[in-house]
């Protein structure tokens, strides 16, 4: 790309993101059919409502409205008491009614914001609106076949479409916003948030302008399902737009698709040219008029949000990057928080490290794992293990091994440590004996330490550890070595 960094800096990118959040209700938005299509045979989760049989009427799922209330609160606003549904018309085989039931003129959420952390501090992104709507089914086009297949299992799944203001100004911010929106919706219990299954998807609207007070012409890239792809797509699109403008050309307002293999956005123009959705009030669903009591009930016991935990974890003295890793996994975050409350920050810090170390197997961001470590080991057993380290009965290294064992071994940590012969020797007499032996066998090293070559002390501690089969308390061993050498 021919655009220099200096030129690039003259432009301010403005990015707005629409997040499609699949609500984790038991049943679909308008029919009493299971909402979890994972592993289900095609068209096994459908009713006459989902297939748009003649005479079938939508019946609004109350639980979905409750989740919208929670989403509103998580986005720092109140739900709209009055909202209503509209029909959005187009013909496509995955849309059996020939219209999608959505919200247009009076959505359930208007306003709110999200505080998004970045490397230094945070930035605020306004929420324009969020509307509740039904998802469409899925079309597949088998290769070399003269037919397509339609699976309506997903048709009617409730989606909350959250539309942000164009308050995002860089690819990194776009990624951070997408991640924070995902976390916030997950933490508030609105969605299961499996990005791999498309439970949260992003459409990004991008424009660039030399005048920071004015937005340029935007393009939209639809259906992105990872934070990294959001970042890459935004970066590419900013570059593409600047290049166009620098060449004296214009940015066309259009929808573009992202080609992950080519790392390029491609125009989808022509496909949806002059699409007129003919919005119309949905006559089959009376307008919503939420009662205060319902809002109160739906919003009660709202869980803590990522920012609450970040604040709480500050005093643990963990590296902010590691805190972000922990916050990525809600079970882990909640476990650390519970331990902090129950046993204090020292235990919480230590256990956080263990948990974080074990997240290696959960590295694929955004993928919901069936059984995160934090849920496999009871908090009490974790705290007991941490207490053993606190009491110097177990070295940090040994504790990690025991922790790993505890995932499958349901015995008490003390028993596991004993059976693996890991209990630490903190008996001074015992260690003094070993130290004398080690010093006499390693006279050269002992001399070096005496001369001030402190590096050598590590070698001696190592020897003591080896002789004690790893059970000696290393700190104690070092102190005794120094004492015996008269340092």
């Amino acid at each position: 790309m021919a655009v220099s960094e200096a030129v690039r800096k003259q432009y301010v990118p403005s990015i707005g993101i629409e997040t499609h959040v699949q609500l984790n209700t038991n049943t679909k938005l308008f029919s009493a059919v299971g909402n979890d299509a994972r592993g289900a045979l095609p068209n096994s989760l459908i009713s006459h409502i989902d297939t748009a049989m003649p005479g079938a009427l939508p019946v609004l799922n109350r639980a979905a409205i409750g989740l919208c209330v929670r989403a509103a609160l998580a986005l720092n606003t109140q739900p709209q008491k009055f909202s209503r549904f509209e029909r959005k018309h187009y013909f496509y085989p995955d849309l059996p009614k020939g219209y999608q039931i959505t919200q247009y003129e009076a959505p359930i959420i208007i306003g709110g914001y999200l505080d998004v952390p970045e490397q230094h501090g945070s930035f605020k992104v306004g929420i324009e609106r969020a509307n509740l709507e039904e998802d469409a089914g899925k079309n597949t086009h088998p290769e070399n076949a003269d037919y397509s297949l339609v699976d309506l299992n997903r048709a009617g799944t409730p989606l909350l479409e959250v539309v942000s203001q164009p308050d995002i100004h860089s690819p990194a911010q776009a990624k951070a916003f997408a991640r924070e929106m995902w976390l916030t919706m997950k933490y508030s219990g609105v969605t299961d948030g499996d990005l791999y299954l498309g439970q949260v998807r992003f459409d990004v609207n991008i424009s660039v302008s030399k005048d920071s007070g004015k937005l340029g012409t935007r393009s939209e890239i639809k259906n992105l399902n990872s934070f990294r792809i959001v970042e890459n797509a935004v970066a590419y699109e900013i570059g593409r737009q600047i290049e166009l403008l620098e060449k004296g050309q214009k940015v066309v307002q259009e929808t573009r698709g992202w080609d992950e293999a080519k790392q390029k956005s491609l125009s989808q123009r022509g496909k949806e040219e002059a699409q007129d959705y003919r919005y119309m009030p949905e006559p089959d669903i009376p307008p919503l008029d939420l009662e205060d009591e319902f809002i109160k009930e739906a919003g009660k016991d709202s869980p803590k949000l990522p920012n609450d935990y970040r604040e709480s974890f500050k005093e643990l003295g963990i590296d902010p990057k590691n805190i972000e890793d922990i916050v990525s996994v809600q079970d882990m975050t909640e476990a650390v928080q519970d331990i902090k409350t129950k046993a204090g920050p020292a235990h919480a810090r230590r256990i956080a490290f263990w948990l974080h170390w074990k997240t290696g197997i959960y590295e694929e961001e955004g993928r919901v794992k069936p059984a995160p470590v934090a849920t496999l080991i009871s908090l009490d057993r974790m705290i007991k293990l941490s207490q053993m380290v606190e009491d110097k009965r177990l070295s940090s290294t040994a504790a990690k091994d025991v922790f790993y064992e505890m995932i499958n071994d349901k015995r008490e940590p003390q028993e596991i440590a004993e059976s693996k012969n890991l209990i630490q020797v903190s008996d001074e007499g015992e260690i003094e004996k070993i130290v004398s032996e080690v010093l006499s066998q390693n006279a050269k090293a002992a001399e070096d330490v005496k001369k001030g070559e402190l590096k050598a002390i590590g070698f001696l501690v190592g020897q003591v550890m080896a002789k004690s089969q790893g059970k000696a308390n290393p700190q104690l061993a070092q102190d005794i070595i120094k004492k015996q050498l008269g340092l």
Binding site: H48, T51, A52, M53, P54, G55, A56, L57, P58, V59, L60, R87, H89, F91, P93, P96, K97, G98, Y99, S148, V150, D276, R278, Y279, M280, P283, D284, I285, P286
Partner: protein, 465 residues
């Protein structure tokens, strides 16, 4: 004999449901020349009758009825009289049908209608035009023309219809039977093929107000499958109180002026006089927005029709054009060949009024006027217990007389659509005849005032006997 008496005879063993069903099925054959039904449901009806006879149950034990063919029913096809649904087998039954069956009623046939209920004469049926039982050269009215004819011909004690702009009351008036349009939402629309969702209502056609009230009694009330349904009255709809004496009745001036056939006017005037003699206070009532109701209706209704007919796309059920080479062609040919001219006309009008740039000018404006009509009804019912007027300006017209001119056809609904736009309950009760052709009186009640309205209609029936 009333439906209640018939049911009690079945329950007491005096009569057999099987015999009643057989009589109706025989009558279907005997009166076939009137082309009032599309298909019979003979097998299912006979087995249901056997079931009822084993242990008679319900307030409608063994009572045969005919459902307009836009009600989803088991035992045969459900077509809405449209080619696009010619092969359609319903996978579930309408709530109204389920409730009637739960009280022992037995559906024996599916009545003819204007395809998708678009029309006022049954001439838009993709099958045939139903003949008026009083004069075979004339239409029975529509769109529930088959249902009205079936009752008038004595084939069944009652039939089900739907009323979106007058589709129960108009054929009731033309055929000389009682046609009841309940308050919007009183009877579930679940399983009824939608025409205009915001004005569609389900109602009975019967020989007497009492029979109609009993059928309403059984069908009405909230249904979890239809979110627009409302609670039914606690008190029974079979209202034996005299709802005329001491009541204030407004005569809708806008319906009594020009365009009314002299004979129709005379019969309505005489009816009003009977109300007066029975102790009602009669006043002239003016509702200036009513003449706009038809214009509003022909924006709102096609808009909803265009939306509701989107699902008939040839992809999942019903007619599908097999020669189509790709998806777009499949949509186009299936709809081109499956829909009749009137459905296409309404889809085009509806699509136009909803399209961007025209929405505000048509649809939005129509909704504003609709609100005005609702307000005028509300104000009128602060003053009056009931409003009365004709159902339609004339008696049944000749087959073919209006079918070439849609605007002329649309005018048939001019006095009925307002109650659909507002949701008020309204009834057509036989009031007299002009040269042997029936004329109905329309009585309109306040929202949810179904019980009082049925009481007034019943009392009028008595006065008119």
């Amino acid at each position: 004999m009333s439906i209640a008496e018939l049911a009690s005879q079945v329950k007491s063993g005096q009569r057999k449901a099987a015999d009643l069903v057989d009589e109706s099925l025989k009558a279907l054959e005997n009166k076939k020349e009137y082309d009032f039904f599309i298909s019979d449901v003979a097998d299912r009806a006979r087995s249901r009758a056997a079931e009822v006879d084993m242990q008679p149950f319900g307030r409608l034990a063994g009572v045969p009825f005919i459902a307009k063919d836009n009600f989803l029913t088991f035992g045969g096809k459900t077509t809405a009289a449209s080619n696009i649904l010619r092969p359609f087998d319903a996978p579930y039954q309408a709530t109204a049908i389920e409730r009637l069956e739960a009280e022992g009623a037995i559906c024996v046939a599916k009545a003819n209608l204007d395809a998708f209920a678009h029309g006022s004469s049954t001439e838009n049926s993709d099958w045939f035009t139903t003949k008026n039982p009083h004069d075979k050269s004339r239409v029975p009215g529509g769109s529930s023309g088959g249902s009205a004819a079936a009752v008038a011909l004595g084939v069944v004690p009652f039939a089900l219809g739907t009323d979106t702009g007058g589709s129960i009351r108009l054929p009731a008036s033309f055929c000389g039977v009682v046609g009841y349009k309940p308050t919007y939402g009183l009877v579930s629309r679940s399983g009824v093929i939608a025409m205009a969702s915001s004005t569609d209502v389900v109602g009975p056609l019967a020989k007497s107000v009492e029979d109609a009230a009993l059928v309403l009694e059984v069908m009405s009330g909230r249904d979890e499958l239809d979110s627009t349904t409302i609670d039914r009255d606690e008190a029974p709809y079979i209202n034996l109180e005299n709802e005329i004496k001491g009541k204030k009745i407004g005569v809708v001036q806008e319906y009594m002026s020009k365009g009314l056939e002299p004979d129709v006017k005379k019969i309505i005037d005489e009816s009003i006089e009977k109300f007066r003699q029975a102790g009602a206070a009669i006043e002239e009532s003016s509702m200036p927005s009513l003449p706009l109701a038809l214009a509003v209706y022909y924006i709102v209704c096609p808009a909803e029709v265009s939306s509701n007919l989107s699902r008939y796309d040839g992809q999942r059920y019903g007619f599908s054009a097999t020669e189509a080479k790709d998806l777009d062609e499949s949509y186009e040919l299936s709809r081109e060949q499956g829909f009749g001219a009137e459905a296409k006309r309404r889809i085009m009008i509806g699509t136009h009024v909803l399209s961007s740039g025209y929405y505000d000018a048509y649809y939005k404006k129509a909704q504003i006027v609709r609100t005005k009509i609702i307000n005028e009804f509300e104000r009128a019912f602060e003053k009056y217990d009931f409003l009365v007027g004709p159902v339609t300006p004339n008696v049944a017209f000749k087959i073919g007389e209006r079918s070439s001119d849609p605007l002329q056809m649309y005018l048939s609904d001019i006095m009925t659509v307002a109650a659909n736009m507002s949701g008020n309950p309204a009834i057509s009760v036989p009031a007299g005849t002009s040269d042997g052709l029936p004329v109905g009186l329309q009585i309109i009640g306040p929202m949810r005032g179904d019980r009082g309205l049925l009481g007034a209609a019943r009392a009028f029936e008595g006065l008119n006997r």
